[in-house]
Structures are given as C-alpha cells and as structure tokens.
Symmetry: C2
Subunit: 204 residues, 2 copies
DNA sequence: CTCTGTGAATGCTTTCACAGCG
DNA sequence: CGCTGTGAAAGCATTCACAGAG
C-alpha cells in the first residue's frame, strides 16, 4: 500500500484509541472525536480512513468495533507478534514487563544481554539469554521484532545481529540512528532528543 | 524563530551527534557526513543550518566545536534544564537514573508518585515526593519540564497539574495524547504505537 | 576540484469547500 | 440538519541545480 508514514502513524493511534472507546461501550465515533483524541483534524482522519477504503455512516460516524476490526486487518495489527529486547539495563528490563505491549498483541518472548551477571540477577517471567544464543532463540521462537536498549556505541552492532537473524522490525531506544537493510523497518525513540526538542521549542 | 518542527528535531539530533564527533577529536564535518548519521540528505542539513544563519567553510565543511556552540546557543540547548518525573513505576524509576539525560544538560531533580509505598521502596539518589507536594517542589527547585510516566488514565490529570504548577514542557510516555495550554510544549512517546507502526509497515 | 549556500522547482500533506446522504 | 467522502487549492518540506569560494 502507498500510505504515507504520517498516515500510518495516525491510523495506528486511531486503532489504539478505539480499544479505549470499546471499553466504554460507545458504539459510534465521529471523525471529529477521533481527531480530538489524536491532535489532528477531522478532515485528516476522514481522508486517512478513506485511503484504506474504510467508510462510515452519515450522521453517525464510524462504528467502533467494525472500524477497529477493519483497521486491524488492513494494517495487519490483528495477530500477535513476537518481539525480543536486547540490552537488559534499567530501561530494557522495565520494558520486559511493560504490560501495554502484551495487551496490544506484542509479546516480548525473550531478553538478551551480554552480561551473564545481569542475566542472573534479573527478576522477570520472561526468558533471558546471553547474546550468543540470539540466532537460535530468534529462529526457534519465530521472533519478528527487536527492541534495542543497549548504549549507543553498540546499537548498530546489535541491529546488524538482529537483522542477520531475520528480524524485520526494529525499535531503537539508543540515541544513535541505526542503518538497516531496505526491507527492514526501523524506528528510533531518542528520549534525550525529545527533551532537546522541547527545550528548543521553549526557547528562553 | 519560525523553524518547522522537522527542522528543529533534526537540528537537535545534529547537536547530539556533534557531541559524539567532538570526542573523536575530528575538527571538521561535512553536511554529507552529518546527513549520513541522521538519515537525511546533505541539502536538508545545509538548509536547516542556513535557516539559523550558521555557515560552514568551503571545501572543509563545518567546524565541529563552533557548530556545536552555535547550535547550543541558537536552540537554547546550552544551559542546564531541570525536569521532574511523575509516576515511578518500572519505566519512571528507570528514567530517574537515565544517565544520558544528565550528560546532556537535563537534570532530573525530583520524582513524584501517588503511592507512599512506592516512594519508600525506591532506591535512587534523586529525591522523591508524594504528588501532593508537586507545587512546592516545582516552584522551589525551578523545574521547567515534566516527564509523565503514569498510566494513560491519569496522564491528562498529571499534565494539568504540571502545567498548573508552571511547567512549560512535557514529555509524555503514556499512550494518551494530552492536551495542554498553548504556550506549553508537549511531546508524546508512545512505545506501543511505535510497535504498531512497525508492524503495519512490515505488512504480512 | 570539493565543499557550501540558496533560489527555484518538485512533490507531499493538510486543509478547504461542498456535494451527498440518511 | 449533522455527519461523511473527496476533488481541488493551499501550504510545507524536500530536492535540485548551480553559482560562489577557497
């Protein structure tokens, strides 16, 4: 499909928000309401949805559960996806147990770290392994996505290893932009840069 | 200044990357090299810099340390900024000690949580307080930025409280988009949505 | 030559405006 | 009416192309 990244990102957020609406029992939602929850405009929401061929009801808006279902199937967010985390420092081990992931269909099924020491100390119900066993574990468990929480110096090396093992999606929390093969999708989340951005916008 | 968010974000990343270059002792860097480290193009980098009135040297590129200094002052990234974290669960307490922040001029000077229990259990060298004392602590310490790591249900309420206390910048890790007064800058980092985005781009 | 600096051109995204529908 | 759906217009961001400088 030829959706822009912006559109995909918004659609994913809509998908997430629909889960919340579903719980309230509300049946219909208008593009304006979705827009409000997203920080977008109603036209943008309508256009985004129409790009997927999704259509709502005059005077009522979109039907929550069927919209969620359609988004789920069109964006392939319906099934469960397996992910692993590389780097079990403070952040990595916090993410190991981040419940939101599991709720949303993303299963963290393995953690990796270089330090055997760390592996021994960690308290979690998820299995942890030394990086050496990455290839075997990833193949065996069918892991599709990797989350990088190692220091910047090692991020590229870890990304290479992950893609070498067949991982096609990478969420990189290190401050270093990693480069990956064409077919691999990678997203960077650099906390420090987010603070810089805020500081820059604040001025003064 | 009238820079676009994209430009500001890239400039902040350049600023961060210059720190890394500085350590290697290299003196000059070309727009193409910066672009490589950023995943952008050399024209974009040159244009971004020229929008700030920053200029390089023919045949040599930009002088690393003076570029860093200029960016630091133009984007107001030079000084130290104080921040607090609200919500000391796994993620929040991991961020309390996230060294990268401190290295980059962002000082986490306080953590807040509703649960006295949690406050007692936490092991960190940063001072932690019950949310009730937010106003006093923020004023007293001159905190400018707030990091929200509470569950989505409470994110808006925390954002309101923070802005009510005079905080002007918010980094929100909850999956809920918070709405803030006009003058306040807020950035959302939704991990789950990042995974969704990756999954959607992967397709299959 | 090899790099920067930048107006002009291109290509995206968002916004608008309004027809259509219940 | 109050909503969606969408071509057309406007607004932005990126890319290009090339002059300028050492």
């Amino acid at each position: 499909m030829d959706l822009s990244n912006n559109t995909i990102e918004r659609l994913c957020r809509i998908f997430g928000h629909l889960g919340a609406i579903e719980k309230t029992g509300v049946e219909f939602v208008s593009s304006a309401e979705l827009a409000g929850a997203l920080g977008a405009t109603s036209y943008t929401v309508r256009k985004d949805l129409s790009l997927l061929g999704i259509t709502g009801f005059t005077r009522k808006g979109y039907e929550v559960s069927s919209l969620k279902k359609e988004l789920g199937s069109k964006l392939r967010l319906a099934g469960r996806r397996k992910a692993c985390i590389v780097g079990l420092g403070r952040l990595g081990s916090a993410l190991l147990d981040y419940e939101k992931f599991q709720e949303d269909g993303f299963e963290i099924v393995a953690g990796f770290d270089r330090s055997v020491n760390k592996l021994e100390r960690i308290r979690t119900h998820i299995e942890v392994y030394p990086v050496g066993s990455m290839k075997d574990v990833i193949k065996e468990k069918g892991i599709e996505m990797g989350i990088i929480t190692v220091p910047g110096e090692h991020a590229q090396e870890v990304a290479d290893r992950l893609t070498g093992c067949g991982v096609r999606g990478i969420l990189n929390f290190s401050p270093v932009e990693v480069s990956v093969p064409d077919k691999v999708v990678s997203v960077n989340m650099d906390f420090t840069n987010a603070l810089r951005f805020i500081a820059a916008k604040l001025g003064g």
